[in-house]
């Protein structure tokens, strides 16, 4: 297939995805801005000064990267899981299945939609954060790379969730019972150095720990985990989830009978 015959379907899916979530911006862009403002007010301005510093940073400065990353993770995941499951539920996924689009293009289109929403929400939450803290930027390249890779990982995870989902409950179970606990236990609000050694080892199995710390390194130059180690984990997660998603799409799981 020519590059044009791949690019046109890809850009069509991306434009459709972006226009979908921007059309309902009150449901997609505004809520994270509100909830993250509350995080900054409560944990940053009210409780933060009583906590003091963490790893040499004011508490609000320390948690700001984690809060931004939390909103990126939630939104990239939510975008793909709701959009792809919605396409399955309304059966308009068939519009793509009858067309000569390779599955990797369908996957890339939906994942790009998740990345764009993750970035947009990340920018909005960063702007909110600027009202509460003086954000630093230790490394622009590392920060952007981590945001990109994290939103890819969670867009892919959202895709896998949507592929297996048979009802709307199935797309809220994973975010509620798996994603939220992992985020809260992934070092958003604390350094894992504060945990007992056993729980530090348990935390090492939490993928979000690597993303939050890598992002915090990009902004503050401070991380509980070596940045190389964090990137290796991110690459492993990305490749693994990409292979699983593509295999599922190629086998037609959840979309073909």
């Amino acid at each position: 297939m020519s590059m044009q015959s791949l690019f046109i379907p890809y850009s069509t899916i991306v434009i459709k995805e972006v226009s979908r979530f921007t059309r309902i911006w009150v449901q997609t862009i505004l809520p994270p801005a509100i909830s993250m403002t509350l995080y900054f007010v409560i944990f940053g301005s009210l409780i933060g000064p009583r906590i003091g510093t963490m790893n040499g940073f004011d508490y609000i400065d320390y948690i700001a990267p984690g809060i931004i990353m939390m909103s990126i993770i939630n939104n990239s995941y939510a975008n793909v899981v709701s959009s792809f499951y919605g396409a399955k539920f309304q059966r308009h996924i068939e519009e793509m299945l009858v067309a000569p689009i390779p599955n990797f293009i369908i996957l890339a289109g939906f994942v790009t939609g998740g990345i764009v929403r993750g970035f947009m929400v990340g920018v909005v939450v960063t702007i909110v954060a600027l009202f509460f803290t003086d954000l630093q930027l230790h490394s622009f390249t590392i920060t952007i790379t981590v945001v990109l890779m994290t939103s890819i990982v969670f867009s892919l995870a959202g895709m896998i969730n949507a592929i297996f989902a048979n009802k709307f409950d199935d797309i809220s179970i994973i975010p509620t019972f798996v994603l939220t606990p992992l985020i809260y236990l992934g070092g958003v609000f604390y350094s894992i150095d504060l945990l007992p050694e056993f729980w530090q080892k348990v935390s090492a199995f939490n993928p979000i720990l690597y993303m939050v710390n890598a992002f915090r390194y990009g902004m503050l130059g401070e991380s509980d985990i070596s940045i190389t180690h964090a990137f290796i984990m991110l690459i492993i997660f990305t490749i693994t989830l990409m292979i699983i998603s593509l295999q599922l799409l190629n086998r037609g799981v959840g979309i073909k009978s």
């Binding site: 059966r91 519009e95 793509m96 009858v98 009978s257």
Partner: protein, 307 residues
């Protein structure tokens, strides 16, 4: 090269239901082909396999010579499909649904917009182009799916019950549109429950029942197999007793309605002769059911007996 060539196609669903039992089918280029069958016979499964929505269990399907296993992209590009169930986003406008479908087929946005205008106008939807699809009427939604299926100008159009739930006037206009497309060289495969539709439109026909093709022939040949027709005679004045109609199978439905079964070898004039000699005046006469419907039911009954 046939437009569609199906050989020994089988489909067993994960619940072990055998939907297709080794069907063979050929549709010639430029044909207007009817695939008929009762509910659950395997029509939608067959269409789903051709279009890439259902995984086959075994067999081969070729679209204009392109095998769907080895050359699926080319095969898909040759097909436009209008499914039985609505399958577009309820939150998008008619225009964006059609243009996006063009994008999925690799058509540039400019061309997609031009074609969308052409087909939406042709199908009477241009005024509704900026309407969110869920606000369209049932008939408009069906026409929208036809416009969407044509955006890449396929060589073969497959329509799965396209006129289900559509009023008579609209159905007729959709028939005219499909005839026009067929005259332009587009091969059309149609499934329908309206047998009158198949008889009016289609040149060739296959009947599928319980996953097997029980008839595959031309419409003309199939109709020639019809060895009897049932006619309804409406009488001017009521009668209390029906005279003997030369031994023909007949019955008085009500005082002014007579039903008569006439074999192909019989002469219909004899019925009028008997009526005239008994001073019974007929004001109108019609077929009890569509001719194809009678054949269709006979074929299905025979298939059930042989199983």
């Amino acid at each position: 090269m046939p437009a569609l060539e199906i050989k020994n196609l089988n489909k067993i669903y994960s619940n072990k239901f055998e939907a297709l039992k080794g069907i063979d089918l050929n549709v010639h280029q430029g044909d207007f082909f009817a695939l008929l069958g009762p509910n659950g016979a395997g029509k939608s499964t067959t269409i789903g396999i051709i279009c890439g929505l259902v995984n086959k269990s075994s067999g081969t399907v070729k679209v204009f010579g392109h095998d769907i296993d080895t050359d699926n992209d080319t095969a898909k590009a040759s097909i436009g499909v209008v499914p039985q169930e609505l399958n577009f986003s309820q939150f998008e406008t008619s225009l964006s649904i059609v243009i996006n479908q063009g994008g999925y087929y690799g058509i540039t946005r400019r061309t997609a917009i031009e074609r969308a205008e052409k087909y939406l106008k042709k199908l009477g939807l241009w005024e509704k182009r900026n309407e969110v699809s869920r606000n369209l009427s049932g008939g408009m939604k069906r026409r929208l799916m036809i416009a969407r299926a044509l955006i890449h100008e396929p060589k073969m159009l497959i329509l799965d019950e396209p006129t289900a739930g559509v009023d008579v006037e609209l159905r007729r206009s959709m028939w005219d549109f499909l005839i026009e497309l067929n005259q332009q060289g587009v091969t059309i495969v149609l499934t329908t429950h309206y047998l009158e539709e198949a008889e009016s439109l289609c040149k060739n026909i296959a009947i599928i029942d319980q996953g097997k093709i029980v008839e595959d022939t031309s419409m003309k040949q199939l109709l020639s197999k019809l060895n009897k027709e049932t006619f309804i005679f409406d009488l001017v004045d009521p009668i209390t007793e029906l005279p003997d109609l030369n031994g023909l199978n007949s019955k008085l439905i009500d005082p002014t309605t007579v039903e008569v079964e006439i074999l192909r070898k019989d002469n219909i004039n004899q019925v009028f002769d008997v009526f005239s000699s008994n001073n019974i005046n007929v004001c109108s006469m019609r077929n009890k059911s569509n001719r194809l419907e009678e054949l269709f039911l006979d074929l299905l009954n025979n298939n059930n007996k042989t199983d």
